[in-house]
C-alpha cells in the first residue's frame, strides 16, 4: 500500500501516494467533458474561418493550451507552445527591411501554419485525452448520427498506433538506405513524405478492417440505446471553459480587439 506519507524524510526513494493495485495506480487526470472538447475544436475552426487578429489568436492559443497542460500533457503543451511562438515570430519578420526577399515565402508559410495550429492543439486535446467510450457516449447524447460517431472513434483509436508505425517505417527506411540520417528527411522532403505515407496508409487500411470487425462483433453497430460505464456530466468548469473560449472570438468579430 502506498500510504500518504506525512513524514517525507522517511525513505524518500519510495513513489508517492498511489494505492496498491493496478486499477488505482494511475492518477485520475482532470479533463473536460468530451462535448466541451468538441466545442473547443469548433472554436479553433471558427478562428480560422473568421481570420481573427493576431492578438486574438495568441490569446486563444494560450487558452487552448491550458486544458492540455491540466491533463498532464506537459511535453505536448511545451512542443505546441514553442512551435507556435516560432511560427508567429517568423510571420512577424519584415523581409523587405531585412533585405531577404526569399523570406517572403517562409514568412507566408509560417503565418499559414500558425493559423492552423489551434486546430491541431484542440484536435490533439480532444482525441488523445478522451477514451473511446466517453466519446461515443457524449456524441450519442448529442444525437450525432452514427456516420459521424464511428469515424471519430476510429480516429481516436488510431492516434496511439501512428507513432509506433512511424518508428517502424523509419527503421525500415534506414535499412534500405532511404532518407537516412538525421537530416535525410529534410534533404528530400517530397520523396520522404511519399516513403512514409504509403506504408502508413497501407497499414492503416489493414488495421481499419481488423478494428471494424472487432467492433462489429462487439455490437457497435447495434441500433437502440448504448450506455456508458463512465458518467458524463457537463460541470461548471465545462460551461465556464466554453464561455471563456467564446469571448475573444466574439470580441474580435465585434471589432473590439482588432
Amino acid at each position: 500500500m502506498r500510504a500518504n506519507l506525512n513524514d517525507s524524510s522517511v525513505n524518500a526513494s519510495r513513489p508517492s501516494a498511489t494505492p496498491a493495485t493496478g486499477a488505482f495506480a494511475y492518477a485520475v487526470r482532470p479533463t473536460l467533458d468530451p462535448r466541451t472538447k468538441l466545442f473547443l475544436l469548433l472554436a479553433a475552426n471558427l478562428m480560422l474561418f473568421f481570420h481573427v487578429a493576431l492578438t486574438t489568436q495568441i490569446v486563444m492559443v494560450v487558452l487552448f493550451l491550458i486544458p492540455l497542460a491540466a491533463a498532464g500533457r506537459w511535453k505536448t503543451t511545451l512542443n505546441f507552445a514553442i512551435t507556435y511562438a516560432a511560427f508567429t515570430a517568423l510571420g512577424l519578420l519584415d523581409p523587405d527591411a531585412l533585405g531577404l526577399p526569399w523570406l517572403h515565402v517562409v514568412s507566408a508559410l509560417a503565418v499559414g501554419l500558425a493559423m492552423m495550429l489551434p486546430c491541431f492543439i484542440t484536435g490533439a486535446y480532444a482525441f488523445t485525452t478522451t477514451s473511446a467510450s466517453e466519446f461515443i457516449c457524449s456524441m450519442r447524447r448529442m444525437h450525432a448520427p452514427e456516420a459521424v460517431v464511428i469515424p471519430c472513434v476510429v480516429v481516436i483509436r488510431f492516434f496511439p498506433t501512428i507513432a509506433e508505425d512511424y518508428r517502424q517505417i523509419r527503421n525500415a527506411m534506414a535499412l534500405r538506405g532511404i532518407a537516412a540520417g538525421g537530416w535525410g528527411l529534410l534533404r528530400h522532403p517530397a520523396q520522404s513524405l511519399e516513403y512514409i505515407l504509403i506504408p502508413l496508409l497501407m497499414n492503416a487500411t489493414t488495421v481499419a478492417q481488423d478494428l471494424s470487425v472487432a467492433a462489429l462483433t462487439k455490437g457497435l453497430g447495434r441500433e437502440g440505446a448504448h450506455t456508458s460505464r463512465t458518467r458524463i456530466r457537463m460541470g461548471v468548469l465545462d460551461w465556464l471553459a466554453m464561455v471563456v473560449v467564446s469571448v475573444p472570438i466574439i470580441l474580435d468579430m465585434a471589432g473590439v480587439l482588432r
Binding site: G22, A23, C137, R157, R176, G177, M202, G219, L220, R222
Partner: protein, 722 residues
C-alpha cells in the same frame, strides 16, 4: 450425445467473396454440438477462416459476397439477422493481438460489448469484476492495452469476448503471434471455458497445443470439408498422414529434441572454421536507458556466410532488441560488434544488414515490384535493370514485376522485401517471425528460401517461435531465454539498492487481512467510508462491485497457488543459534490464523531487484534450510518496511511491508525486457534485467502495535481519505 443441442448448424453453405474468382466455401455442412470443442484445420486458403466468419455472422454481413445455404447459430439465422443480435451469444477472438481491441484502456475494452448492448452501469461493473476474476486479469485493469505483451493482449481479448456470457466462442488462429508460455495460458483458458459449458470453434494452423482439449477435428481443403475426425482418431494418425494433409505437426517432441541438439551445436567464436565471421559480438550488452529501460548481456556470438542461425526464446527475453542492435538501429549498451573482423559503428551495421520485419507492410514503398527493387538505385542504368530481373527470377517474382506490392500475398511480399535486400548487396539478412500463421507448405517454402539465400553466401538469422522451422532448417540455434543474463558486475548490486537494517524488521507483524475481516465497529465504519469514496469515482467503481473488502481480500490474500493456509502473523528476530548459516540476516517465523507456528527459517539476501513490487527495490530472501525444500516459503520477495518501526513511535503511520513468496523463484520473477517496441508509461514492471510476474499483487504485513485508530489511519490513507 445427440441429446445435446446443436449450437451451430451449417446447411449446405456456399460462399464466394465479392471480387473473388473462386468460391471460398463450397457446399459445407457441419453441426456443432453444445459444449464441444471443434478444431477447423487445413492448408492456407482452405476456407476455415471463412467458415469461422460465417458462424459469427461476419460473412455475409461485413464481408460481402454470394451466399447460399443456411447457417443457424445459437438458434438464429446468422446470414439474415443483424450481427448485433448474435453479439450476446457468440464471442469472437481473432488472430492479431494488436488490432483486436477497439479501446485503449483494458477496463473500457471489457465494458465495450456490454455498453453497446445497453446494459446499466452497475451491471457492467459487476460483469467486469466477474470476468477479471475468471481470467485473472485483475492486475491489468485500468492499464493501457498498448503496453501489454502479446499474450496479455490475447488474454484481454478472451475476457472481453466473455463479458456477455456467450454460449459459443469462435477463435480464428488465436495463437499465431504468441510464444510458448502464452500458448499454454491460452490452452488453460480454453479448458476452463469448456468446463463452464461453452461451445468452442477454433480455426488453427498450430495444432499441437490443442491435443487433449479438442473433441473433434474438421479438415478443410479448397473450400470443402474433406473429413471429420473424433479426437482419438485424429491423434492416432501418423505424422506422414498429417503432413500430407498440409497440417502442422501434432507431436512437437522430436522437433524439440532436435532444437536442443542444435543449441548445443553453437560454435564458439574462437574456434573458427577458417573464415572470419561476417558478424561477431564481443561482451555485447543490449538494452536502452530511460525509466523503463533494461539491459542484459548476451553471449558472444558469430554469424558466418552460408549459415542459418535460429534465435529463440519467449517474448520479452530480448530478441527484438538484439536484432535491432545487430542491424545498427539501436546502439549497444556495452561491448562491441565486429563486421568482417573490424569494429563496426551502428551506421555500418545498418548498411550491411537487413531485417525482414514480421509485418512486411512497413517495408514496401513503391507502386510496383520492379520499382520497389530499384529504390535508391539508378533506374536508368542497364546493369541495375539486369540485376533486378535476375533477382526477380531467382525469387519467382517475374510474374508480378508490374503488380503493386500490396496486392501480393504475404509470402510474396516477404520475397519482395528479401529481393530489395539482395539488390542492396546486404550480406546479413535477419527474418523476424517469417512463418507465423503459415501452413506446412508455405513454411517449407520459407525454409527453402532460407537455404537458397545461405547458398548465395548470405548469413541468415531467423527469429522464430516455430519449432518446425527451427528444427528443420537452422544450422544452429541460440536460445536467449536459457543464457545467463546476470554477470559478476550485476550481482554486486546497483546504486539504488537499499541497505538492510534488521532493526527495521524486528518484532511481530500482523497480516492486513485482519483489518479487512475485523469486527471492530470503528474499523468497519472506516471501510464503509472508503467504499463510498471508491463508488463515487467511476473509474474505480468496478473494484467495489462486490464490496471493497472483497476486493482487498483478493488483492492482499496471503494465500498462494502453493499454499492455502492464510498467514496470520510473522515473528521476525535475529538469526542465530545452532547450525545457523553465516550469511543469514533474518529469521522469520510464520504463523497461521489460529496462531499455530507453520515454519521458522533463517533467510539470507540472494540479491535485490531494482524495480520489483510496486516498482520499488525488493529484497530477494532465500533460505538454504534443507527442511525448506518443498516449503512454499523458501523464496521471499519483500520490500523494506515503510515507514520504519522507529518512525512510528514518533507519530507516523503504522509500519508495513509487502511480500510475495514461492517455492521456486521462477514462479515470481521473469527475467527479461518489456515489449521492446513500445516504451511503457507508468508500468511498474519495467526493470533492469528482472521483472516480476505480478508487481502490483502482493500480501501485506503491518506492525503489530498501535491502536485501532492507527489501523483506521492506514485504511484511510490507502483510499486517499482524510
Amino acid at each position: 450425445m445427440s441429446v445435446r443441442n446443436r449450437e451451430s448448424i451449417t446447411d449446405h453453405v456456399s460462399f464466394r467473396y465479392e471480387h473473388a474468382q473462386e468460391t471460398a466455401l463450397h457446399d459445407v455442412s457441419l453441426d456443432v454440438h453444445q459444449s464441444r470443442c471443434i478444431v477447423l484445420c487445413g492448408a492456407s486458403g482452405c476456407g476455415k477462416t471463412t467458415y469461422s466468419r460465417i458462424v459469427n455472422g461476419l460473412v455475409p454481413q461485413f464481408f460481402h459476397g454470394e451466399f447460399t445455404g443456411r447457417q443457424i447459430t445459437c438458434g438464429l439465422d446468422a446470414s439474415t439477422v443483424p450481427i448485433d443480435r448474435l453479439t450476446p451469444l457468440v464471442g469472437s477472438v481473432f488472430q492479431n493481438p494488436k488490432t483486436q481491441y477497439f479501446n485503449a484502456n483494458v477496463t473500457d475494452e471489457l465494458a465495450f460489448a456490454a455498453e453497446n448492448m445497453g446494459l446499466p452501469a452497475d451491471d457492467i461493473n459487476r460483469r467486469i469484476a466477474s470476468v477479471s476474476d475468471r481470467f485473472g486479469i485483475g492486475p491489468l485493469l485500468g492499464r493501457s492495452i498498448f503496453h501489454l505483451s502479446g499474450g496479455q493482449k490475447q488474454r484481454i481479448a478472451m475476457a472481453a469476448a466473455s463479458v456477455l456470457n456467450p454460449r459459443l466462442m469462435v477463435l480464428d488462429e488465436p495463437t499465431s503471434n504468441l510464444d510458448a508460455h502464452a500458448i499454454a495460458d491460452m490452452r488453460t483458458m480454453i479448458e476452463r471455458m469448456k468446463a463452464d459449458g461453452l461451445t468452442i470453434i477454433i480455426a488453427e494452423h498450430r495444432l499441437a497445443w490443442l491435443n487433449g482439449v479438442a473433441d473433434r477435428y474438421v479438415v478443410f481443403d479448397g473450400g470443402r470439408i474433406v473429413r471429420e475426425y473424433e479426437a482419438s482418431e485424429f491423434l492416432a494418425l501418423s505424422p506422414g498422414c498429417i503432413a500430407a494433409m498440409g497440417l502442422r505437426a501434432l507431436n512437437l517432441e522430436p522437433y524439440r529434441k532436435q532444437i536442443a541438439e542444435l543449441e548445443r551445436r553453437r560454435a564458439f567464436p574462437s574456434s573458427s572454421s577458417g573464415a572470419t565471421p561476417l558478424l561477431a559480438t564481443r561482451d555485447l550488452a543490449i538494452g536502452y536507458r530511460g525509466r523503463d529501460g533494461f539491459m542484459r548481456h548476451v553471449p558472444d556470438m558469430a554469424f558466418r556466410a552460408g549459415e542459418i542461425t535460429g534465435l529463440m526464446g519467449h517474448n520479452g527475453c530480448g530478441k527484438t532488441t538484439l536484432v535491432k542492435t545487430l542491424t545498427g538501429l539501436v546502439k549497444p549498451a556495452g561491448g562491441t560488434i565486429m563486421l568482417n573482423g573490424r569494429k563496426a559503428r551502428p551506421r555500418d551495421l545498418t548498411r550491411a544488414g537487413f531485417m525482414v520485419m514480421q509485418d512486411v507492410n512497413y517495408q514496401l514503398f513503391s507502386d510496383s515490384v520492379r520499382e520497389e527493387l530499384m529504390i535508391g538505385l539508378d533506374e536508368t542504368d542497364p546493369a541495375v535493370i539486369a540485376q533486378a530481373d535476375r533477382v526477380m527470377d531467382d525469387l519467382d517474382l517475374t510474374a508480378f514485376a508490374d503488380r503493386h506490392p500490396m496486392s501480393l500475398s504475404d509470402g510474396q511480399k516477404q520475397r519482395v522485401a528479401i529481393g530489395s535486400a539482395l539488390m542492396c548487396g546486404k550480406d546479413l539478412i535477419i527474418l523476424d517471425e517469417p512463418t507465423s500463421g503459415l501452413d506446412r507448405y508455405h513454411m517449407e517454402q520459407v525454409g527453402g528460401l532460407l537455404r537458397q539465400l545461405a547458398a548465395r553466401g548470405k548469413a541468415i538469422l531467423v527469429v522464430t517461435h516455430d519449432e518446425e522451422l527451427a528444427a528443420g532448417w537452422c544450422d544452429r540455434i541460440i536460445n536467449l531465454e536459457k543464457e545467463p543474463i546476470m554477470n559478476a558486475t550485476n550481482m554486486s548490486g546497483t546504486a539504488g539498492a537499499p541497505a538492510f537494517d534488521i532493526a527495521d524488521w524486528l518484532g511481530d507483524w500482523e497480516s492486513f487481512e485482519h483489518y479487512i475481516d475485523s469486527d471492530d465497529p470503528t474499523i468497519q465504519q472506516t471501510w464503509e467510508a472508503a467504499e463510498q469514496a471508491v463508488l463515487a469515482d467511476p473509474r474505480m467503481a468496478p473494484m467495489a462491485a462486490h464490496g471493497i473488502r472483497t476486493f482487498w481480500s483478493m488483492a492482499c490474500a496471503t494465500t498462494s497457488p502453493e499454499n492455502i493456509i492464510h498467514i496470520g502473523w510473522w515473528r521476525v528476530s535475529e538469526p542465530g543459534g545452532a547450525g545457523a548459516a553465516a550469511s543469514a540476516v533474518i529469521r522469520i517465523e510464520w504463523f497461521a490464523e489460529d496462531n499455530t507456528s507453520l515454519d521458522i527459517y533463517d533467510y539470507r539476501i540472494d540479491h535485490v531487484i531494482e524495480h520489483g513490487l510496486e516498482g520499488s527495490p525488493t529484497f530477494v530472501f532465500t533460505t538454504d534450510d534443507p527442511n525448506a525444500e518443498d516449503s512454499p516459503f523458501r523464496w521471499l520477495l519483500v520490500i523494506a518496511p515503510l515507514p520504519s518501526r522507529r518512525a512510528f513511535t514518533k507519530g507516523g503511520l503504522l509500519s508495513h511491508l509487502h511480500f510475495q513468496y514461492a517455492n521456486d523463484l521462477a514462479t515470481l520473477v521473469v527475467s527479461g525486457e518489456p515489449d521492446a517496441d513500445i516504451h511503457a508509461e507508468g508500468t511498474a514492471s519495467g526493470s533492469a534485467t528482472e521483472t516480476l510476474h505480478n508487481p502490483r499483487w502482493y500480501a501485506t504485513m503491518c506492525a503489530d502495535e498501535g491502536t485501532v485508530q492507527d489501523r483506521c489511519a492506514i485504511i484511510r490513507a490507502l483510499h486517499h481519505l482524510q
